[in-house]
Symmetry: C2
Subunit: 335 residues, 2 copies
């Protein structure tokens, strides 16, 4: 069906290796021969069979991106950035969804489907520090997120603690004193929730404000509905607060909605700050002040680090690459 090197060689009247040489830019070919081959390629509409080429070379020209779920806005935007960065390097991206299920995440690392790719950018949401061992995989991998540190691979992530501390300090600087938190994870020690909560505590401490457990709203997931639910609980508790730190934007947006339903004005009565820098946060009512943790940089850096590992250009040990953050000041929490 599709034309192969053999077909082109026959039409051009040369050996298949010569055709291969033309395609791969081998320099020592007579212009006339080269022309004949190129004409034959055009005539037959030949395109190389990448599968065969890959078998020969051991490379596939594709990388895998594993993340919890594309319908979560943060991961969709991350994926968009990763795919764009990969495309710029001529690499295709195969996307796998794990649903944040630790079993599926473990399974994925052993999946033969990854054989279709040269390496993996992995953003786990179910695995934890105790699973660091399973990250020892026989292919290049770059880890994203903050579930696992000191693993055996490169790791690109954000400055969760510092960024959360900065977000909290920002609220404090604007005069808020009772800052509620939405989205903490009960008993968690690792992961974004724990790190961001730590940043929050650090900022309070620096300001000499005591930590008040009553101000902390716990959730199991980080969906909008969880943010809403968590805020309802806080309101029901009848504690006073003049600001809310949503541990991500989606939570903050859900919480903000509930605040408004309850008749609290944002930002007059309660200031709200989020975390993630989602595009979406710019268009809520009021627009959401948030921390951009450097998503774009993370995507680019992860792709480049992975490609370096694949090409074997780097033989350093596991690298930890940290993105810079910045606070996007909007209406929900003016400075």
């Amino acid at each position: 069906m599709a034309a192969t090197l053999h077909d082109v060689a026959r039409v051009a009247g040369v050996s298949i290796k010569t055709v291969s040489n033309v395609i791969n830019g081998y320099p020592h070919i007579r212009p006339a021969t080269k022309q004949r081959v190129e004409d034959a390629i055009a005539e037959l509409g030949y395109t190389p069979n990448l599968t065969a080429r890959n078998l020969r070379s051991g490379r596939t020209g594709a990388i895998a991106l594993a993340l919890p779920d594309l319908s979560l806005a943060y991961f969709a935007e991350l994926a968009a950035s990763v795919i764009a960065a990969a495309e710029a390097s001529g690499v295709s991206v195969l996307v796998e969804q794990t649903g944040a299920d630790p079993d599926r995440e473990r399974e994925l690392l052993r999946s033969p489907r990854l054989k279709l790719t040269d390496g993996l950018i992995f953003s786990p949401l179910g695995l934890g520090q105790e699973d660091a061992a399973v990250l020892k995989v026989p292919f290049p991998m770059v880890l994203l997120g903050e579930r696992i540190f000191d693993g055996p691979t490169d790791h690109v992530t954000m400055r969760n603690v510092e960024a959360a501390r900065a977000a909290t300090a920002y609220l404090l600087a604007s005069g808020r004193r009772r800052i509620a938190v939405v989205g903490a994870h009960e008993g968690e020690i690792i992961g974004s929730a724990a790190l961001r909560l730590q940043g929050y505590r650090d900022a309070l401490k620096e300001a000499g404000i005591p930590f008040d457990e009553d101000l902390i709203g716990y959730t199991t997931f980080w969906h909008r509905a969880n943010g809403a639910l968590s805020m309802r609980e806080l309101l029901a508790r009848d504690v006073e607060f003049d600001a809310v730190f949503g541990l991500n934007d989606t939570l903050a947006l859900g919480a903000m909605r509930v605040l408004q339903e309850a008749g609290r004005h944002v930002p007059e009565d309660v200031a709200v700050i989020g975390f993630d820098g989602l595009d979406e946060a710019e268009y809520s009512i009021p627009s959401l002040t948030t921390v951009d943790p450097g998503r774009e940089w993370i995507a680019k850096t992860a792709v480049h680090a992975l490609l370096e590992r694949i090409s074997g250009d780097v033989d350093a040990g596991p690298r930890l690459l940290l993105a810079d953050f910045r606070i996007l000041e909007r209406e929900s929490a003016p400075a």
Copy 2:
């Protein structure tokens, strides 16, 4: 490095073909032999080299999904559904972003990178009816969207006209009479905007209400900012209206925000309805009434149709597969 059939065969003391037979479930193998082979596989951690298998079989076990941009919520959710449906069939998905650029869309169809896949699910946003010819590709393809009809391939899409008519009729039934539109495309004849606008006109006609050009807000893109801008223009025009039909949810959310800033109450003063059934629409303030055009069904159907074509099970001509829609009644437009 990685173990191959040869290694397993050596360890198990059988021929490589026997190992292959065990892996592929060939029935006539002695249990003892099978056990030895399986032990060897486990010992070596062997996983089949899919590239080689694919070269042999001519299949890759992956499909490509080409869409404008994952950071657009509709496409992110569509991709999530497509990947889930593909995974259920044991197929990987390679995602390509075209940025809605007609040149990149055309280029994509000729890209050798597609050789890594068995077929393509293609959602164009730049190509138009005049490009139907370029869809004649030498691999299985399923078309999504409403830019091109009567192309040479299967086509899965939504009932844009009927759904938009139903949305408009819904507003009319709730007593609204002056319904503004946000997101029309100037001079467009094909594509979602044109079809949905057509449905709007049809519903007006049925109700005996004249079409008023002053109520139509035009935009170039369908981002939130465009919905906001378009609504500002409508307000500046100083025409009366008691409802807004956002040609998609993102536009509707942008428009709703501007309405509220301008002091109009939703839904008391102005009812708002969207189109797409985004998860996000459920959590706005007020929550957005919208039309779910059957996204989930579209994703599943597209994957299954493509896999049918790939396996050659179907030899029918191009099929047009239409999803059912339903109106999700929420706060922004009560019945």
